[in-house]
Symmetry: C2
Subunit: 265 residues, 2 copies
């Protein structure tokens, strides 16, 4: 049987709250299985962009990344957040190594082409070129990769890439050599049938459950892309996808408790 | 015989000039021996600091690093410069990986203590804890470490550290397992007895030459700390230290030509 690997995605709900982050890092230090951490940017890029006079330009919920914005996210995601996170992990005894997709060529990507919108330096993972080796070589010597939301085009340009997509791409790729569990740290305990009612949590979600609940209009529209993405990830070899809140991390990691949503085929 | 390793330090004279940097990267791609690149910050930190309203505060030629300045250099050295450099190296076919001292715990350091001056987040390498393994593990799988001027204290803090010192510390440490040549890319061809006269270049400098030239007052005072440091590095096992200009890199690397200063015991 293949060894287990966790791919853990954390976003603004963790990165923007020092105490939550610290609690999570303390728990990560207790893990016995190898893992890869993927982090988003939270509000730091917008805050520092404002100080630099670089306004966020959004089209359809996507940040347009001109050259100045690329420099901003390279500084914030690849510098301030990633480097500081690694230093904090080292302080907790986790031998972390912080990466953009250019490091070890671990996340090759294509600049996004769109008939009408110029997204600038936005990249989509080149899944056909994504390989386990850059990660396994680090994992095999006891290092914990920490990925930020930057990929590269192989022609010298870093590219801004959605961290959720990176997490699922890496999870799929590594399922060739590990049993991979993909854990999305979330601002809710998981899929709620009523967002006002925490007891409406769906603890297990199969494709059949999903189709039925969606047909009944019982899943919040904002969740649909996340869940579609989760099922696509599972179809490509990932063992399970979990949506959870930071406080429940150990229960998820050690498969105890039920206060989160497990998605499986 | 141990294999050869080059430790190459580049500073503002390369980092601030895109064409010079590109030429050097193209030449680095032709190397057959493994190498480690160490880069300084050039003018980028000051330029971006000005835009953020963070003024550089210098005492005795050292930047005082308060928390805000630490965030600035983490963004600029560890983010913008290091990450972009790695992407450009990948485009040249060099499988680079960009590191601060926190990554893989490769550069442990102590916060500088001084009786009168609070340097803030400035670190001195903890040479007693510096080990070859974080570097050899990467080199052994064909990766090229690219180090910026940041170390860490093991308690969660990154520290601002002189890049020349990092280069010599890493060179000494790795001389346990490699024949190390430490190459400082410089704004002059090397040691000039007359700074106005390029034909006054000293091509070879031994401790005897150095003592004699210094006693005769023929070495520019600004060069003395650099040369003292070079001899200390050689006494700790590094095979040679070379001062050279970017245009002469291949001649240095392949030991052809003589338009640079070789310092040996």
């Amino acid at each position: 049987m293949l060894p287990e690997l966790l791919v853990i995605k954390i976003g603004g709900n963790v990165m923007d709250h020092a105490q939550v982050l610290d609690g999570l890092l303390r728990e990560l230090a207790t893990l016995r299985q190898p893992f890869i951490l993927v982090h988003g940017g939270g509000k730091a890029a917008t805050r520092i962009g404002e100080r630099l006079g670089i306004a966020a330009r959004m089209v359809d919920g996507r940040r347009i990344t001109d050259r100045e914005t690329l420099e901003l996210v390279t500084m914030v995601y690849g510098g301030l957040l990633n480097r500081t996170l690694v230093a904090q992990m080292q302080a907790r005894g986790i031998n972390a190594i912080g990466l953009t997709g250019a490091d070890a060529n671990c996340l090759p990507a294509h600049k996004r082409q769109h008939p009408d919108i110029d997204y600038g330096f936005v990249g989509d993972l080149a899944v056909e070129h994504l390989k386990p080796e850059p990660f396994t070589q680090l994992l095999n010597v006891g290092l914990t990769p920490v990925l930020c939301a930057l990929t590269h085009d192989g022609a010298g340009n870093l590219l801004n890439t959605n961290a959720d997509t990176i997490a699922s791409g890496v999870a799929i790729c590594l399922s060739q050599v590990y049993r991979v569990r993909l854990l999305y740290c979330f601002d809710k305990p998981g899929v709620l049938l009523d967002v006002e009612d925490l007891t409406s949590l769906v603890e297990e979600l199969s494709p059949g459950d999903y189709d039925r609940l969606r047909a009944e209009g019982r899943i919040f529209a904002g969740m649909l892309p996340k869940l579609e993405n989760a099922f696509r990830t599972l179809e490509q070899g990932v063992e399970e996808v979990v949506l959870f809140q930071p406080a429940d991390f150990l229960a998820v990691a050690f498969r105890t408790g039920r206060n989160f949503t497990r998605i499986r085929l």
